[in-house]
């Protein structure tokens, strides 16, 4: 038995690196410090849904083949493609991502990562107005006003509050854990929230009558010393339950709400009485809280990037932060999803200048979301082959995009038989990054962290990096043979 400390959890953008993993006979048997998803990953990685050998679709069925055959088939598809898409990259390490850029360049394809369906709009917003941000520790030490906008860390980044924000001890700000407990106690009558948190919400009996949408006035606690927590969302999330103030914004109206706040910060008068369902009088109090804090931060998620306005929502959120900095210190940060989607953006940017949606078809990197992004290429039906690695567009892309994807050869590299693999033509199993493979990943604040290998992969299973290198090598062989042929006559 061995106990391995300071393991970096390969799931979400929090990249918690304090996980303790116990290994017996090359198998993880216990995980400490992690959240529910973390435990599921370390327990689930060895499940029966794992792919054990390479598969190729023959006569409509995926049948086992040798690794060499699968690699050759994949390389042949890519080398011959006129406009291939190479998508995914977010649940693997930077080492594999580096090879990925080279492969995409070699085959003249569209290289895109999962940012396109999560924080691609955030990167685009940043390209319009920049981004005043920091590392998470800066927030831990200094922030006295924390806002989660369009995101629910309790569900998607379960340890975010505990490690980086409201419930952590900083040099200049204390944890709000105790006062939160007191608040929970005060909300007597209802079942203990804390224990309720451990129960799956839809299974738990719930007696609260649906609250009306009539807006609650901002509480006086917004002006208190110490850390304050505000949540803005279209529905009351678990995170919102913990907040000092919850603003229920009308769906798709975040843009108007933020723009109105910007105008109020600049002491402009609004003609309207409410914005996005929120009375302007209440907004004024929110604005007071924003400008009177010592150090504020907005964390935002898919609630902004995927709803009407998309990247403009991010642009306005960042503009709001820019405005606030003439009054106090205020920062903003996207809640990055996949554990290394930041890394995919970073590696792509240092090698090409662009973070996602990079089109190599003209021999040099080109970038224009809407034109060179995988989603649009698929929806317009332009591509003629797809490689998917370390992502599952079969489960995350809209139907029409998948319909085009399966019309042409589809190569899938993944440890699990995920939805895309079920649809694939060539399926190559890979080792679990962060469990069976070491490497580097970037946290949501772009802090690089080492991933650990805690167990050996099953025999014969290669890493993403190894598989990609083999495909790249094979592609070059196929291309040089082809060039010889065309030159011969």
């Amino acid at each position: 038995m061995s106990v391995i400390n300071a393991v970096t959890c390969p799931i979400c953008g929090c990249l918690c690196d304090d996980i303790e993993v116990t290994v017996v006979n090359n198998e993880v048997v216990k995980v400490k410090n992690g959240c529910a998803v973390c435990e599921a990953k370390y327990m689930g990685y060895k499940s029966e849904h794992r792919i054990r050998q390479p598969l190729v679709r023959k006569e409509g069925k995926l049948v086992p083949v040798s690794m060499d055959e699968a690699i050759h088939k994949a390389a042949e598809i890519l080398a011959n493609a006129n406009y291939p898409v190479l998508y995914g990259w977010s649940s693997t390490n930077c080492e594999a991502q580096r090879v990925g850029v080279e492969l995409a360049e070699e085959v003249g394809g569209v290289l895109d990562n999962t940012a396109v369906v999560c924080h691609g709009p955030s990167l685009m917003g940043t390209q319009e107005v920049g981004i005043p941000t920091s590392t998470l520790g800066q927030i831990r030490h200094r922030a006295d006003l924390i806002i989660y906008w369009g995101c629910d860390p309790w569900s998607a980044h379960p340890r975010h509050l505990e490690r980086y924000t409201t419930f952590t001890e900083g040099r200049f700000e204390d944890s709000e854990w105790k006062s939160y407990i007191n608040k929970v106690k005060a909300v007597a009558g209802k079942k203990k929230l804390l224990s309720a948190q451990r129960v799956e919400p839809h299974k738990k009996p719930h007696e609260t009558v649906a609250e009306s949408l009539i807006f609650n006035k901002p509480p006086e606690t917004l002006q208190k010393e110490g850390r304050k927590l505000i949540v803005v969302d279209v529905r009351k999330s678990m995170t919102a339950e913990m907040a000092d103030y919850f603003i229920q914004v009308q769906p798709g109206k975040d843009y108007e709400l933020m723009q109105a706040i910007r105008a109020l910060i600049k002491d402009e008068e609004l003609d309207v009485e409410q914005v996005a369902g929120v009375p302007v009088d209440y907004l004024r109090e929110v604005v007071d809280a924003l400008i009177s804090c010592k150090f504020g931060v907005i964390f935002f998620g898919m609630g902004l990037t995927q709803s009407a306005g998309k990247f403009r929502n991010i642009e306005v959120a960042i503009s709001l932060i820019r405005d606030l900095n003439s009054r106090t210190k205020f920062l903003i940060m996207p809640m990055r999803g996949h554990f290394n989607v930041s890394g995919a953006n970073i590696v792509s940017a240092w090698q090409t200048g662009y973070a996602f949606g990079v089109d190599f078809s003209l021999g040099y990197p080109r970038y224009n979301p809407g034109e060179t992004t995988s989603m649009d290429v698929l929806l317009r039906g332009e591509s003629d082959a797809t490689l998917v690695i370390a992502a599952d567009p079969g489960a995350t892309f809209p139907k029409k995009a998948i319909q085009h994807m399966v019309k042409h050869p589809l190569i899938v590299i993944d440890p699990h038989l995920n939805a895309t693999a079920m649809l694939g033509d060539v399926v190559i199993p890979s080792a679990f990054v962060g469990i069976e493979v070491s490497g580097t990943a970037y946290r949501m604040d772009n802090v690089p962290l080492p991933l650990k290998k805690v167990v050996e992969p099953p025999e014969g299973i290669l890493t993403d990096e190894e598989i990609l290198k083999k495909i790249l090598e094979e592609v070059r062989i196929i291309k040089s043979k082809r060039d010889e042929k065309t030159e011969a006559p």
Partner: protein, 564 residues
């Protein structure tokens, strides 16, 4: 390994006092040797060509989080400058912040072989090294930002110089760094809460310490650790009219640091710290005052931070300064504060001849370089990409060697700047020998790089050959010819390999990354102490913080024995 013999070139090797002599240079196993077997060696006919050591850049932001964020936010900057894949080279994009491969190629094309990445947040050090690995054809090193690191502030606050030194040594090793970088000392910690310091004697909020304490303390620490380079300083009040007073005070404050005769401080991108006047309207050059001081003292070296008229991107750890630029320009603004360590910011910037301020800045950089008499104190940089992209160096070389070139540019500048510029009265034109000092020899010397910047036996075979015949052309008159030659090296040789021929990359090679292993007493004690304290300071685990060996593809470890 192939042997190479470079025959009959005009050699400019200032560290060995060789000034344009026609001679041969022999290379074997990546080093310069006394001689090689003429029969076996590959011969390069350098007759009529200028041979210099490979260029050395003491200050260029080419890798790491800040640089890469700069890339990410500027698609409109890349789209106008694209680089296609070839059978030898990777594709990429250029303009103000080129992608990593393109960075390597463009430096090599100018005959540069060694560059210093001067700004690295320790927490992001792995990132910096990952990018450095992807910059081909160059040797590299990187400087951790230490001036506002809480451990430095706390130790100096207590007056514990030795403790400070040991922790700095720990950090240099942990981040695989090369020198102590200080940016707006005290200002970055203040910026954590949105404030700044405005003189070297302001107190840093929450820490009872001043910028003066930090600079002098770290300069002393630098000596205690016997580091090859001095402290590398970006001054307080950078980029603000009237800041030359702060710069003079800074240099004076550092006079008190004991010295063994070597400089105690390198002031980087001095142009940005040499503004007189008290607002943007009446801003003037303080190059005269600053250069006078430097001419009379020997503890300072500096690099220019020369403005080039183009659309570029400013990026610095000086978060509060970037905020000032944001307030002035309203342009896209990035701020990146790093827990317990530093801050940072990015603003795109278009320097225009027609702007009085920009044109004056352009003049100030050149004035400083020309008014400081000793070329060993002056190094050519643009503080890439802050004052312009590095591939504009040939232009700056032309301005340095040719009054005609300077006056041609000045004539196109804003009238106010023309009137305020000191350049019309400056006759000096650097010789090729002096140019070799300010672009390689002096930089290598200031960095303490023993095998760089010269062509003596034992030096790294990093060589630039330019198509300039000093016997035939007067570069001061034919500055355009010289400019073209400096931008397209006839040959660039890296570690004994020909990597560029006639301005084209012809071979790939990974450069090395140099880092310091500083041996102090009680190293284990510092480790233990850091391990205990770590969680209180950072949000990552102690054992996940260091840059482990595998992060450096081709390392060159330089061991230093500290006196503490």
């Amino acid at each position: 390994m192939t042997e190479i013999l470079i025959k009959n070139g005009f050699v400019f090797d200032p560290l060995n006092k060789i000034n344009g002599e026609k001679m041969d240079i022999a290379i074997k196993n990546g080093k310069i040797v006394e001689s090689v077997n003429e029969q076996k060696a590959k011969k390069i006919d350098a007759a009529g060509l200028t041979v210099m050591p490979g260029g050395v850049d003491i200050h260029t932001h080419i890798a790491g989080g800040e640089v890469n964020t700069g890339r990410m936010i500027r698609p409109e900057d890349h789209v106008k400058d694209v680089v296609s894949k070839t059978s030898i080279t990777r594709s990429g994009t250029g303009y103000s912040i080129p992608s990593t491969f393109v960075t390597g190629y463009r430096y090599a094309k100018m005959g540069y072989t060694t560059v210093m990445n001067p700004s690295m947040a320790p927490l992001g050090a792995k990132h910096t090294h990952e990018e450095l690995n992807d910059i081909p054809l160059l040797d590299k090193a990187t400087f951790p930002l230490l001036g506002d690191w809480w451990f430095v502030l706390e130790h100096l606050q207590r007056g514990d110089l030795e403790g400070c030194a040991r922790h700095v040594a720990w950090m240099l090793e942990t981040t695989k760094g090369y020198a102590i970088k200080i940016v707006n000392p005290g200002g970055l910690e203040s910026w954590g809460f949105g404030r700044n310091v405005h003189s070297i004697d302001d107190t840093v909020p929450n820490f009872d310490i001043t910028p003066r304490d930090i600079m002098c303390g770290l300069a002393k620490v630098n000596k205690m650790l016997n580091l090859p380079h001095s402290i590398h300083l970006h001054t307080n009040n950078l980029g603000i009219p009237g800041n030359y007073v702060t710069t003079l005070e800074t240099m004076k404050a550092l006079e008190n640091v004991p010295t063994d005769g070597r400089p105690t401080c390198h002031i980087t991108h001095l142009q940005f710290s040499s503004f007189a006047g008290d607002n943007w309207g009446n801003m003037k050059s303080a190059a005269e005052e600053i250069s006078k001081y430097i001419n009379n003292h020997n503890h300072i070296t500096f690099d220019m931070g020369q403005i080039v008229f183009t659309d570029t991107t400013t990026m610095t750890a000086d978060g509060p300064f970037e905020f000032t630029l944001y307030q002035l320009s309203g342009h896209k603004w990035v701020n990146t504060d790093v827990e317990t360590e530093t801050s940072g910011g990015i603003i795109p910037m278009h320097y225009k001849r027609t702007s009085a301020v920009n044109a004056l800045q352009w003049s100030i950089g050149l004035e400083l370089a020309l008014l400081v008499e000793d070329p060993w104190k002056v190094f050519m940089t643009t503080d890439h990409p802050n004052a312009g992209p590095f591939f504009a160096y040939p232009k700056i070389m032309a301005w340095l060697i040719s009054k005609k070139a300077r006056m041609a540019t000045l004539a196109k500048c804003h009238k106010k700047a023309q009137k305020r510029s000191l350049l019309p009265s400056v006759k000096r034109e650097l010789s090729l020998y002096e140019l070799a000092i300010v672009t390689r020899a002096g930089q290598a010397k200031a960095l303490g790089l023993k095998n760089k910047g010269h062509l003596g036996v034992g030096a790294d075979a990093d060589i630039a050959i330019y198509d300039i015949n000093p016997e035939k052309i007067d570069v001061a008159k034919k500055y355009k010819t010289a400019r073209k030659a400096f931008g397209n090296a006839a040959y660039t040789i890296k570690d004994g390999k020909i990597v560029v021929k006639d301005g084209e990359v012809v071979q790939h090679t990974d450069g090395k990354t140099m880092w310091l292993d500083v041996k102090t007493a009680e190293q284990l004690k510092v480790d233990e102490e850091m391990k205990l304290k770590f969680k209180k300071y950072w949000t990552v685990e102690y054992e996940n913080y260091p840059v482990y060996d595998h992060y450096v593809k081709v390392p060159e470890i330089i061991s230093v024995k500290a006196s503490v």
